[in-house]
Structure formats: structure tokens, C-alpha cells
């Protein structure tokens, strides 16, 4: 009697042991940590009208002309950053692979520097350098007004700053992409058919690394669109500072926009997962 009972208990324990209890425990805890803040934001954003769930906060937030302006502006900044980054980094990575492998170490070192120099330090340095006129060294001849004094100058500064922030991710994406295609053979084949350097890069190399480019571009997008530090210190009308100010005197609209920006980040990362086959990457504009 007691023996069969013990036997049953033992059998149950073995069965229980096969279910990885602790794995499930940590996984559920992690899921809760992920979900709760998002759920809280979503619920809060739907409660603008008393006793009723509605999308009023979203309607109000999206209808604000300032939202549209700043959001469009931030997206334009992101697009400019992505395009100029690709123009700068693809030929560099290509040239390193093909002609100057000895430059690899120093270029990789430079692309890692943004991890050492946080956004707040970068913008500090940029402001100190470019808020005074650009002069010919050792003379008083002024080449250029301070970049921070006019719109185009500020836009150049902020796009350059974002290019620096995105550089580690962009360079690594592009470099990984080039590792998987045989750049040298492709180049030789294209050259033997009479293609120029520009044609080779634009029509042979770029299409072959498009998955890597897309993942670098989306990461850059995720960094730039909600960025606050550079945008607020350089005083540009971007989405990040707008959302921050909105949060100072409104309650529901900021929650609606926060949830929207989470969905955008999720969309960008989801596409990256799809195109890179699950090799997640992390950026940081914290």
C-alpha cells in the first residue's frame, strides 16, 4: 500500500522534473517585465474619456500640428542620416576589404569610439567646437559662420552627430554583409565587363548587401526618431524634445505617443529579425 503510494509520488516527481520549472519561472517573470509597462501605457492612453475606452488621446495627439511637424522632421533626419551613412561607410568598408586591409584596425577602433563617448559628451564637444566660427588655422580669416547659428548648419551638425551615434551599428552591419559575399570576385567580374568603381559599388555591391543595409538602416531609424539628447541641446524641433515637453503639461497624449513609438521600434526590430534570421542587435540612445 505505502509502497505503491510512494511509487506514484516518485513517478509524479520525475514527470514534474521533466517540466523545467525554473526556466518557466524566469521566462514568465521576464515576460511580465516586458509587458507590464507597455500594457500600462496602452491602458492609460485609452482612458482619456471617463468610464469609456476610446482612442481620443491618439486622435488629439496625431491632430496636433506640432506633432506632425516634429515627427516628419525627425523622420527626415533619420532618412538623411541613413543615406549619408551608407554613402560614407559602404565605400570605406569596401575599400578596406579590397585595397587597404591595414586600415581595418584603426577604422574599427574609430567605429567603436561612440560607445566610449556618450551622446551627452558628443553634443558637448560639438557645441564647443561649432559654436565658434570656422577659421583658417593660425589666422583670423573666417571661413564659415558658427554652424549653430543658422538652420542648415544646425541640421548638418545634428545629422553628423546621429551618423556618429549610428556608426558602430552601421559599420558592423555593412562589414558583416560584405563578409558573406565574395567582394573581390564580384569586383573582378564587374571590372572585366568594363564597370567603373561607382557602378560596381552602386549596382553590384549594394544590392548584394541589402539585407545588412536594411538592418543597419532600421537600427539607425530606431536610434534617431525618438532621440532627445542631441536634439534638445542643439535646439532642433525634433520629435524627442516635443514628446518630452508634451509630457510636462499633458497626461494622455504622451502615453498615446509613447505606445506608438514602441510599436514603431517593434516594427523596425521585427523586420531586422526577419531579414537577418534572428541575429538580434542592440543599439542605445538611452
Amino acid at each position: 500500500m505505502a509502497a505503491t503510494y510512494l511509487g506514484k509520488v516518485a513517478a509524479m516527481i520525475t514527470r514534474l522534473r521533466r517540466i523545467p520549472f525554473w526556466s518557466w519561472f524566469w521566462f514568465l517573470l521576464g515576460t511580465l517585465y516586458f509587458i507590464l509597462p507597455l500594457y500600462a501605457t496602452l491602458e492609460f492612453s485609452l482612458e482619456m474619456e471617463r468610464d469609456r475606452i476610446s482612442l481620443l488621446a491618439y486622435e488629439r495627439a496625431f491632430a496636433d500640428p506640432e506633432f506632425i511637424e516634429t515627427f516628419v522632421y525627425s523622420n527626415l533626419l533619420a532618412i538623411a542620416t541613413i543615406i549619408i551613412s551608407i554613402i560614407l561607410i559602404v565605400p570605406t568598408a569596401y575599400w578596406i576589404r579590397l585595397r587597404v586591409p591595414e586600415a581595418r584596425r584603426i577604422v574599427e577602433f574609430i567605429t567603436l569610439l561612440p560607445f566610449v563617448i556618450p551622446a551627452i559628451i558628443l553634443v558637448f564637444g560639438l557645441i564647443r567646437i561649432y559654436s565658434s566660427p570656422v577659421q583658417v588655422p593660425l589666422t583670423d580669416i573666417t571661413l564659415l559662420q558658427p554652424l549653430t547659428n543658422f538652420n542648415l548648419g544646425t541640421n548638418i551638425l545634428i545629422v553628423a552627430g546621429y551618423m556618429v551615434l549610428a556608426m558602430p551599428y552601421m559599420y558592423r552591419s555593412v562589414d558583416t554583409g560584405m563578409r558573406t559575399v565574395d567582394v573581390r570576385t564580384l569586383t573582378e567580374a564587374a571590372q572585366s565587363l568594363g564597370a567603373s568603381w561607382l557602378t560596381i559599388i552602386a549596382r553590384v555591391i549594394l544590392p548584394n548587401i541589402r539585407a545588412a543595409l536594411l538592418s543597419g538602416a532600421l537600427l539607425t531609424f530606431a536610434i534617431v526618431v525618438g532621440e532627445v539628447t542631441l536634439a534638445s541641446f542643439l535646439g532642433v524641433p525634433a520629435f524627442g524634445p516635443y514628446l518630452f515637453l508634451l509630457g510636462q503639461h499633458r497626461a494622455y497624449e504622451p502615453a498615446a505617443l509613447s505606445f506608438t513609438s514602441f510599436l514603431l521600434t517593434w516594427l523596425a526590430m521585427g523586420i531586422i529579425q526577419l531579414v537577418t534570421g534572428g541575429q538580434g542587435q542592440a543599439a542605445g540612445a538611452h
Binding site: 523545467p20 525554473w22 526556466s23 518557466w24 524566469w26 521566462f27 517573470l29 521576464g30 516586458f34 507590464l36 509597462p37 507597455l38 500600462a40 501605457t41 492609460f44 570605406t92 587597404v100 591595414e102 577604422v107 574609430i110 569610439l113 560607445f115 566610449v116 563617448i117 556618450p118 551622446a119 551627452i120 559628451i121 558628443l122 558637448f124 560639438l126 564647443r128 567646437i129 553628423a160 552627430g161 556618429v164 525618438g226 532621440e227 532627445v228 539628447t229 518630452f244 504622451p254 502615453a255 505617443l257 509613447s258 505606445f259 513609438s261 514602441f262 521600434t265 517593434w266 526590430m269 521585427g270 529579425q273 538580434g280 542587435q281 542592440a282 543599439a283 542605445g284 540612445a285 538611452h286
Partner: protein
């Protein structure tokens, strides 16, 4: 600048070729010098310059004397260390659960994707999300009060405090750990475990004698990376506490807005101190990463 370091070529044509091939990477170096090196150098030189433009090390020495600056560094270090260790342990356990912990495969893909999103979800939206969760009228605050009869605010909790900011930072810290540790855990070879079991080792012995020693460099390295990740954070803390938590980045922000230290050189020195700590942590990370690569992959 860099072509000088190249070995001299045998022939004149060879030399000119050597020189020409660097043209392809010139735009990159030019960009890096203009928008990364020069701004950093400006702060570096500034931290060794007094108000009259002469060389001085007084600014650097003053970093260790002025109470508010020391406090800012100490607060930043504590908050970064706490979230790096807690986020590191939690992230490791999560990565373990989905890699070799016996959970169904699809959960792994889900967790990795979510980690990618969460480690990128920061700044203002993250701060607002935590206000909606753990603020005075937040959902979790309400659930704890109404269901469990625990009023965390009466118990002394405050979202705009050390604990609150740490909990918020955790949202991007532990996912980063998951992203780094999942591949490392995949690198543990099944043969090691089988060999240990054949020799009569228990599960505990396998973990303490084999798996953890092999994983330790990458665990420590990842935690150091997490430390730097939190140390450089500005937007989240500013959006959440509006400057009430005087961490280094917030203090530097105040210094940029208007010379609150009443000494520009001291501000530059403070920024350089930060770069110094970030550089040490990145160096530590890459050193530990090299050690761990001996065994994993």
C-alpha cells in the same frame, strides 16, 4: 596622417600606389576627425586649461575635491553597478531558460525579438511607460494597493528615486544581457556535459567546475558592457526625474546649458572623467570577450 606609418615601398611607383590607395578611406577619416575626434579633443584640451588659457591640472584635481561632483559620479556608478549586476543575473537566467533550459524553441525567438526591441526602447517613452506602471497612479501601484493591500508609496517607494530609476533602467539592461548571453550559452558544447557525466559528475559539479568557469569571462564582460550602457544614459533619467537625480550625465547637461560649476574647465574635466570610465569598461569588456572566445565558438 596614417600613410606615414606605412612601410616604405621598394619602387617609386609602388610608393605612389601605396599612397593612392588610402584615398578611398579619406572621407571616413575626415568625417571622424571633424565630428568625433575634434569635439573630443576640444573637451580633453579644455579640461587641462584654466580660464586664461594656460595649462593646468587644477581642474582634474578639483574633480576629487568638489563634493557635488564626487556625489554625482558615485550616484552614477552605484546605479550603473546595481542595474548591471541585477540586469546581468536576470538576463543570464532568461537566456539560460530559452537556450538550454528546456523551453520550447519558439519561445526563444520571441524572447530574442522582444529583447531587441526593449534594449532599444529608452528615453522619453520609457520614462512615461514607467510612470504609467509604477507612478502614484500607475497600474502596478494600483494592483498592489487594491489586490494585495500594499501601498508602496506609503511604504516609502518613489519612482523618482534611486530604486525607481534602477527599475526603469532594468528595462533596457536585462534584454541587452539576453542578447549577449544567448549566443555564449549556445557555445557550451554538449560533449563537455556528457564527458562530465561519464566521469560521474553531478549537475552541480558540471556547473561549478565546467560551465560557469567557461562562461564567467563572457558573463563579467557583458555586465561591464551593461555598466557602461547605464553610465552613459541621459535621456531616460532626465525624462523620468527631470534632473532630481543628479547623476553625472544630468550634471554635464546642466553644465552645457549654463556653466553651473562656474568653471568651464571643470565641466570639461567632468566630461573627460566620464569618457575615462567608459573607456575602461569598454577595454575590460573586449579583454574578457577575447578570453571567452578561447572556449566558446
Amino acid at each position: 596622417m596614417a600613410q606615414i606609418t606605412l612601410p616604405a615601398s621598394k619602387t617609386a611607383t609602388g610608393a605612389s600606389l601605396d599612397w593612392k590607395k588610402w584615398i578611398g578611406v579619406t572621407p571616413f577619416f575626415l568625417f571622424a576627425i571633424l565630428f568625433l575626434i575634434l569635439p573630443s579633443l576640444r573637451l580633453f584640451i579644455g579640461s587641462f586649461t584654466d580660464n586664461e588659457g594656460r595649462f593646468t591640472i587644477a581642474n582634474v584635481l578639483q574633480l576629487f575635491e568638489q563634493r557635488s561632483i564626487l556625489d554625482a559620479y558615485w550616484l552614477s556608478i552605484r546605479i550603473s553597478a546595481v542595474t548591471a549586476i541585477a540586469g546581468g543575473i536576470f538576463g543570464f537566467l532568461l537566456a539560460y531558460a530559452v537556450t538550454i533550459g528546456g523551453l520550447p524553441r519558439p519561445l526563444r525567438t520571441t524572447l530574442i525579438t522582444f529583447s531587441g526591441v526593449a534594449s532599444n526602447f529608452a528615453g522619453v517613452p520609457l520614462a512615461f511607460a514607467f510612470v504609467a506602471t509604477l507612478g502614484r497612479t500607475g497600474i502596478v501601484t494600483a494592483i498592489l494597493r487594491d489586490v494585495f493591500h500594499v501601498n508602496i508609496y506609503q511604504a516609502g517607494f518613489n519612482l523618482y528615486s534611486f530604486l525607481g530609476l534602477s527599475l526603469t533602467y532594468m528595462y533596457f539592461q536585462f534584454p541587452l544581457m539576453v542578447l549577449i548571453m544567448a549566443p555564449a550559452l549556445d557555445g557550451l558544447k554538449r560533449e563537455w556535459r556528457e564527458a562530465a557525466e561519464n566521469l560521474g559528475a553531478s549537475s552541480l559539479q558540471y556547473w561549478t567546475r565546467i560551465a560557469l568557469p567557461v562562461l564567467l569571462p563572457s558573463i563579467l564582460g557583458a555586465m561591464i558592457l551593461l555598466f557602461g550602457n547605464a553610465f552613459g544614459a541621459y535621456a531616460t533619467a532626465y525624462a523620468l526625474t527631470g534632473g532630481a537625480m543628479p547623476i553625472v550625465t544630468i550634471q554635464i547637461g546642466a553644465q552645457i546649458r549654463g556653466d553651473v560649476l562656474h568653471n568651464p574647465g571643470l565641466g570639461y574635466a567632468m566630461a573627460m572623467g566620464m569618457v575615462f570610465i567608459m573607456a575602461i569598461s569598454l577595454a575590460g569588456y573586449s579583454w574578457l570577450q577575447r578570453i571567452s572566445e578561447r572556449w566558446l565558438r
